[in-house]
Amino acid sequence: MSQKPALLQHHYHDWHLLRERFMEKLAEQSQQLRLIESALLQEDQSEIITKVGELDLELLRYACYSMESRITEAARLDCAHLIADSVLDVSGGEVSGKRWENWMSAAACWPQLAQEQWNYALDKASDVIIERLESAGVSIDANSVKEIGREVADLELRDVLPPETYSRIFTEETREEDVSE
C-alpha cells in the first residue's frame, strides 16, 4: 500500500508525457485483451503466449490501481455523505436508512469497502455535516465543530444502518472480522 503512491506518481509522469497517445494506448490494450480472449477460446497456445507478451503490464497495473483507488475514494465519499444523511435525518431514520440499503445493495464491493474505509469516511463526514449545517444558515463555533468531529468519529456502521440491513449484509463471520480488527 505504501508503494502505490510512488507508483502512481511515476506513471502519472509517464502518461502525462505521453498523453497524446494515452487513450490510443488504452484502446490498444483493450484490443489486445480481446485477442487473448479469442486465443483462449481457440486454445491457441502460441498466440496466447505472443499476445500476453505484447501486453503493456505497466499500463494495465496502473489502470487496475487507478480503478481501485477511484472506487475506494468513491466508497469513502459515499459513506461520508450517507453518514451525514443519517446524522441530519429528521424522518426518524426512514430516509437515510433507505439510502444506506440502496447503496449497500448497488454493488457487491460496497459493504466490504464501507468496513475497510470507515475511519476515512467518518473523517470526511464531519466536514460534510458542518458544510451542510452552515449552508442551511447554522453558525457553529470552533468548539462545537470539534465536538461534532469527536462524536462522529465514535460512530460505527451498526449505528447508522437499519438493524435488519446490518444483520442481512454483514454475516456473523464478517462481524467477527470487524471486531478482531
Binding site: 424522518s91 453558525s139 463555533d141 462524536e151 465514535d154 449505528d159
Partner: protein
C-alpha cells in the same frame, strides 16, 4: 458570560440515557446547534455565538404519539409533521437572561424608563440576585402588574423582555380566541392548532420566554376559559408537564416561562389565580416622569423610522405639555401622525394635533 452548552448527556439522567444511541445523541447535538444559532441570529449581537449558550430540555426526546390514536389520514400526517419538527428542533432550548451583574444593570434601566414600576423592578432585581447565586437564569417570574389604564403596565413588561433579551409575546386575554391562543384548540377540531406556549417552546429558541398576559381581568369565557390553562401554567410543578390541548400526548416543560400579567382591577381575578402571582401596583407617573416617557417615546419613533438626523431630537416643553393632555398611547399616536404629516409636507417641524378626531377619539384602554 461563562456559559456552556448543556448537552443532552449532561442533562438526561442515566436512566433516561439508557438505550440512547450514539447517533441519537449526535442528532440531539445538531438540533441544539440549530436552535442556538437561530437564537443568536434573532438576538443580533447580544448573545454569544452558537455553541456557547446554556440549554435545558423542554420535552422528552423519546416522546411519540400513541399508536392507534390517529385513526384518520390527516391526523397521522399531522403527527408525522410534528415528529419531524421535534426531531429537527430537538429537546434543548436556550436559557436566556442568565443572571449576571450585566443583566442586573440592564434591568436597572427600568428605574429610569418606568419609575412608576419601582416595586416590580425591585422584585425582579431580587430574583436576579437569587438566580445569580445558583448560576441560574431568570425563570418562572409570575408578576401581576395592576393599575389604572394608560399607566404603562404592558410597556413595562415588553421593555423588560427587551432588556432581558428574551423572546416576548403578548396574549390579549380579552379576545374571544384567548383560550385557544394560549393552550391550543381541542384535538377533535379538524383545524386544531397548538397554542402560543407550545409554539414558543417548540418552534422558538428559548425555554424561558416572557409572556405578557394582557388584561387578565377582562377575560371572555365565550369560547372556553382562557384562564383554565393558567392554573396549570403558573404552578411550577404542573407547568413542568404542561399539555397543549391540540397535542395531549406531548407534555412540555413550561415551568421556566416568565409571565407578566396586567390588570386594571386585580379584584376581578379568582383568588386561586391571583394567589399564583406576585402583585405590584403600577402607579400613575408624575408629571416629570410623564414628560420623560413622552421624550423617550419620541426618540424611539425617530429611531424606528431612521429620522434622527431629520427632526430635532428633543421635544419642546410646549410640545410635551400638549401631549400631557392625553394618555401615553394618545401621545404615541399623535407623535406618529405628526411625523408622517411633516414628511408629507417635506417639513422639519412637528405639528401636534390633539383634537384630530381620527387620532384622539377612543377611551384610554391601556398603554401602547
Amino acid at each position: 458570560m461563562s456559559t456552556h452548552v448543556v448537552l443532552p448527556q449532561v442533562i438526561a439522567p442515566d436512566a433516561e440515557r439508557a438505550g440512547v444511541s450514539k447517533l441519537t445523541e449526535l442528532q440531539a447535538r445538531v438540533a441544539a446547534l440549530r436552535v442556538q444559532s437561530q437564537a443568536a441570529q434573532d438576538d443580533g449581537a447580544t448573545l454569544p455565538v452558537a455553541g456557547q449558550l446554556p440549554m435545558v430540555t423542554v420535552f422528552n426526546p423519546a416522546i411519540k404519539p400513541p399508536e392507534g390514536m390517529s385513526s384518520d389520514r390527516d391526523s397521522t400526517k399531522r403527527d408525522e409533521r410534528i415528529m419531524t419538527l421535534l426531531r429537527e428542533r430537538g429537546a434543548l432550548r436556550v436559557l436566556g437572561a442568565v443572571a449576571s451583574p450585566m443583566l442586573a444593570g440592564a434591568i436597572s434601566e427600568l428605574y429610569d424608563s418606568h419609575p412608576n414600576s419601582s416595586g416590580a423592578i425591585d422584585y425582579i432585581l431580587g430574583e436576579e440576585v437569587l438566580a445569580r447565586r445558583q448560576g441560574n437564569a431568570l425563570c418562572g417570574l409570575r408578576l401581576l402588574l395592576h393599575g389604572s389604564a394608560g399607566v404603562g403596565k404592558t410597556d413595562v413588561a415588553l421593555t423588560l423582555a427587551k432588556l432581558l433579551a428574551l423572546p416576548g409575546e403578548v396574549i390579549s386575554l380579552s379576545s374571544a380566541q384567548a383560550a385557544a391562543a394560549l393552550a391550543g384548540s381541542e384535538q377533535y377540531w379538524s383545524n386544531t392548532q397548538p397554542g402560543a406556549i407550545w409554539k414558543q417552546l417548540i418552534q422558538g429558541t428559548h425555554a424561558n420566554p416572557l409572556f405578557v398576559l394582557d388584561e387578565i381581568d377582562k377575560t371572555s369565557n365565550q369560547w372556553g376559559d382562557p384562564l383554565g390553562a393558567l392554573y396549570q401554567l403558573l404552578e411550577s410543578r404542573t407547568a413542568a408537564v404542561f399539555c397543549d390541548k391540540s397535542l395531549p400526548w406531548m407534555p412540555v416543560d413550561a415551568s421556566k416561562i416568565n409571565f407578566v400579567a396586567t390588570a386594571n382591577d386585580p379584584e376581578a381575578l379568582h383568588p386561586a389565580l391571583r394567589s399564583r402571582f406576585v402583585e405590584f401596583e403600577v402607579t400613575s407617573p408624575s408629571e416629570g416622569a410623564l414628560r420623560q416617557l413622552i421624550q423617550r417615546l419620541y426618540i424611539n419613533l425617530l429611531t424606528e423610522f431612521d429620522l434622527i438626523d431629520r427632526f430635532p431630537t428633543e421635544l419642546s416643553v410646549v410640545q410635551t405639555t400638549v401631549l400631557l393632555g392625553g394618555s401615553i398611547r394618545d401621545a404615541k399616536r399623535i407623535l406618529r401622525a405628526a411625523l408622517g404629516q411633516a414628511l408629507r409636507d417635506n417639513s422639519n417641524e412637528l405639528t401636534l394635533k390633539m383634537a384630530t378626531p381620527q387620532i384622539v377619539t377612543r377611551q384610554r384602554i391601556g398603554f401602547l
